[in-house]
């Protein structure tokens, strides 16, 4: 019989210091390369992806400078091609996906009441691979051969015959490489969420953000192989002369599009689902009530995950496929509005029944709702075949995709920055600067992307580096360009706010927002071990009591005396031994003890070996490639050999 202690006594400072000492990373540079702490890795993901966000945003601003007036020649056409390729590729692969993975890395173990991820070293490996893949892609800029085939790199344009230089190879190899990172991360999330939840946190008590990361991860492991294969076959064709995409030798250019979009459409929702998970968390907290329709929202997330695998052909409506196929995919594309709509109304209901507090995170959330509404409506429009045929490859599509991928993903991410950065850095951001940033971004966003709808309808095609005057496009393009400057300025204010808060921000209390999920039960920033005692969860809102008033998180008072080691690992001793509890998947009973691995350089070396392998392929230097494989195999062997998974 175990006792749940409703108001646990705080462990004394000496004990906590002893525990912390066990967990602290080695200082300085060695500690930097060897850490396996999910919080350090999560923060690193976020910082790195914001560097890429900055670069891709800069590319967009330069493009808008070129397009601000007709017959402009600020940029050469080749440079323009490279810029839009880098902009799209970076935003999708090196900003949106990894920044969400970064938030997931940081927040998932805290929200489920664990001391780390299931595979901490794999987590470090995912980060290093992401970093090296980004560096691989951007080294193309340094050597002056940036990829220029568009972010989806359609063949035959990207075949060796039409793009003989090394440019496209940077793209293809970086895409394969970064896929390893995303996949490893997703596997880690799945196992963490299945096996590391604190006792009592059954599936129906999981925070919606954790649900969204679970759906994200399942979508990743089933979708990413398609883009990896698409890029791999492209590279086989380019580097070794195979014939996958060569029509004359039995290959097919259409195959590439199928492979690419079989990943590409789920990918849109891979980004959107965690963003909505963040929205669900923030909407409830800042409406000061529980989320309306938790079950409906979770069901919607899961069904979006499934349905999104059946809509990819709507990116290929204009490729001359059979009418029956088109009708099917148009139908499924309309179907996906249902779960999205359910979520939308659940958020509105939450706000309606609650008391809305317009903090900066909530402003971004409400801004998201408005933008997502417009993006959703244009989504319905382009899923209707005749309409799509009329606007395909025009700026209407550019407008739609930015409303959903920029507005409906980046706005929640910015809200999440204001909401969760205090937890990560221990410093509050300025509300005043945040409000300014929001309004500048919101106005700038709509000035940038709304006129693009009109430009598309009156005929301006995508991916043109300039246009003649007299077409009636000049004024709108100028508005778009001015809007983009405003939008860039708005994001800049948040980045500035972030930088200022690091130096001068008000210290953040443990729970600055009176929120309900477990990450707010620990100090800001959390101690290395997250939870000295692993909490026992008895409701969907562990930090709220039945009336929504703050409640202390209960723990098992006599866990230290438990018969089973897994029960003892819940207690202080578990933290002191640098362990965490593995629970059984469904009913979250303590089941096993996970020893958190010590710091190790092996994940870094493995990622480095893979980077050398890809670099070897890129420059067609066998020695480098073989050396990379040798390093990777050596690192892998050491990793496997040092892992003692066979304990009773």
């Amino acid at each position: 019989m175990a006792i749940i202690d409703q108001a646990p006594d705080a462990p004394d400072a000496a004990t906590l210091e002893r525990i912390e000492h066990r967990w602290l990373d080695a200082p300085g540079i060695p500690g930097f390369f060897t850490t396996v702490d999910h919080k350090r890795i999560g923060v690193r993901y976020i910082y790195t992806s914001f560097v890429f966000f900055f670069l891709a945003g800069l590319a967009a601003l330069v493009m808008r400078d070129q397009l601000a007036s007709s017959n402009n020649n600020v940029l050469a056409p080749e440079t323009y091609n490279a810029l839009f390729t880098l902009h799209g590729t970076t935003m999708i692969f090196l900003f949106n996906t990894p920044v969400l993975a970064g938030f997931g890395n940081y927040l998932v173990p805290l929200q489920i009441g664990s001391r780390d991820m299931a595979f901490p070293r794999l987590n470090a490996f995912s980060y290093w691979v992401f970093l090296f893949a980004g560096l691989l892609l951007y080294s193309s800029v340094v050597v002056g051969h940036p990829p220029d085939g568009g972010w989806f790199a359609y063949v035959p344009l990207t075949d060796k015959a039409y793009s003989p230089a090394i440019n496209i190879d940077f793209w293809g190899l970086a895409i394969i490489f970064v896929g390893i990172s995303t996949t490893a991360g997703a596997i880690n999330f799945i196992v963490t969420i299945f096996k590391m939840r604190a006792p009592g946190m059954t599936f129906n008590r999981m925070p919606v953000f954790v649900w969204s990361m679970l759906v994200f991860s399942f979508m990743v492991i089933f979708a990413v192989p398609a883009v990896t294969i698409a890029a791999a076959l492209l590279e086989f064709d380019r580097l070794f002369g195979t014939a996958f995409y060569t029509p004359g030798a039995g290959g097919s250019a259409l195959l590439y599009q199928h492979l690419f979009w079989f990943w590409g459409h789920p990918e849109v929702y891979i980004l959107f689902v965690p963003a909505t998970g963040m929205v669900s968390m923030m909407v409830a907290v800042f409406s000061r009530r529980v989320l309306a329709g938790y079950v409906w929202i979770v069901t919607s997330l899961v069904s979006v995950g499934f349905i999104s695998f059946g809509v990819w052909v709507h990116h290929m409506f204009a490729t001359g496929l059979p009418a029956l196929a088109l009708a099917f995919f148009a139908g499924v594309s309309l179907l996906i509005t249902i779960p999205s709509g359910v979520q939308f109304f659940a958020w509105i209901a939450t706000m309606w029944k609650g008391t809305v507090e317009l903090t900066v995170p909530m402003l971004f959330t409400v801004g998201f709702l408005l933008i997502f509404l417009l993006g959703g409506i244009t989504g319905v429009m382009v899923s209707i075949l005749p309409f799509d045929w009329a606007v395909t490859d025009s700026y209407f599509v550019v407008a739609h995709l930015h409303y959903v991928l920029n507005g409906a993903v980046v706005f929640p991410i910015f809200g999440a920055l204001y909401y969760w950065l205090p937890k990560m850095t221990g410093r509050m951001l300025s509300e005043r600067l945040g409000k300014v940033s929001f309004w500048v971004m919101f106005v700038g966003f709509n000035l940038t992307f709304f006129p693009m709808h009109i430009l598309g309808i009156i005929g301006m095609p995508r991916r043109v580096w300039t246009y003649s005057n007299g077409l009636g496009w000049d004024t709108l393009n100028l508005i778009v360009s001015l809007g983009s400057v405003l939008f860039g300025l708005g994001t800049g204010i948040t980045l500035l706010n972030w930088a200022i808060s690091l130096r001068r921000g008000r210290p953040a209390p443990a729970n600055p927002w009176d929120a309900d999920s477990l990450e707010w039960a620990v100090a800001s920033p959390p101690p290395e071990y997250n939870f000295a005692q692993i909490p026992v969860v008895s409701s969907r809102h562990p930090l709220w009591d039945d009336d929504g008033a703050p409640a202390a998180v209960p723990v098992l008072a006599d866990a230290a005396e438990g018969r089973d080691p897994s029960v003892r690992s819940l207690a202080l001793e578990g933290a002191a031994d640098k362990t965490t509890t593995i629970t059984s998947g469904r009913d979250t009973r303590p089941f096993e003890v996970l020893e958190i691995p010590e710091q190790t350089v092996v994940p870094f070396v493995l990622a480095l070996g893979l980077a050398a392998f890809f670099a070897g392929l890129l420059i067609e230097a066998t020695v480098v490639g073989v050396l990379g494989v040798a390093i990777a195999v050596a690192a892998l062997l050491r990793w496997v050999w040092r892992t003692d998974m066979d304990r009773a």
């Binding site: 019989m1 175990a2 006792i3 749940i4 202690d5 409703q6 299931a118 595979f119 996949t183 997703a186 596997i187 880690n188 799945i190 196992v191 299945f194 096996k195 492991i221 089933f222 979708a223 192989p225 398609a226 990896t228 294969i229 076959l233 086989f236 064709d237 070794f240 002369g241 195979t242 014939a243 996958f244 060569t246 030798a249 039995g250 290959g251 097919s252 259409l254 195959l255 199928h258 492979l259 079989f262 098992l556 438990g562 018969r563 089973d564 029960v567 593995i582 059984s584 998947g585 009973r589 303590p590 089941f591 096993e592 996970l594 062997l637 050999w641 998974m645 066979d646 304990r647 009773a648």
Partner: protein, 194 residues
Amino acid sequence: MTSFAVPTTKRSYSTAWWGMAALIATESMVFTVLLGGYFFLRASALQWPPGGIAGPELRLSLPFSFLLWGSSIPIFYAEAAIRRGSQRGLRIGLFVSAVMGAGFLAFTLEDFHDVTFGWRDNAYGSMFYVIVGLHALHVFAGLGMNVLVEIKAWQGKFRADCYTSVEVLSLYWHFVDAVWIFVFLSLFVSETWR
């Protein structure tokens, strides 16, 4: 103060097993996508294989396929043995399966040597080499894991109640065998019997 019982259970798979299961899910997708691509090209071709070249033969591939599928049996045996606590059974099972897997791998290399087309000749050849080659790479990885587990088995690291590595290896091994059912039916059998 509330009180309730916290029973513990051992009837659940380890995190390593779940990690392997998730890896297998994504790997299955890799093969699904490749075979999907293969059938897409085949369905849209006027002549298949293009250029009237001869497809692979069943004379050797059929018995060696059965050798690979059969290698799952000693793995089952090894797992059952260590569950009873039999070190000898574990070692023998692992060893026999490794030999059978290596035999299949040797056949694949020989087969690449025997076929009359190269991977640059046409899309069919490209698909054949990449899919069969990728599967062979998986067999090779399985062999590597088998050797590692085997070394631990000889060191006597496993007991009746602790053999997670064996479980993880077994899951992967069966997966690689199962993939070959689909690859073999698609690239060998359906090419021959039409």
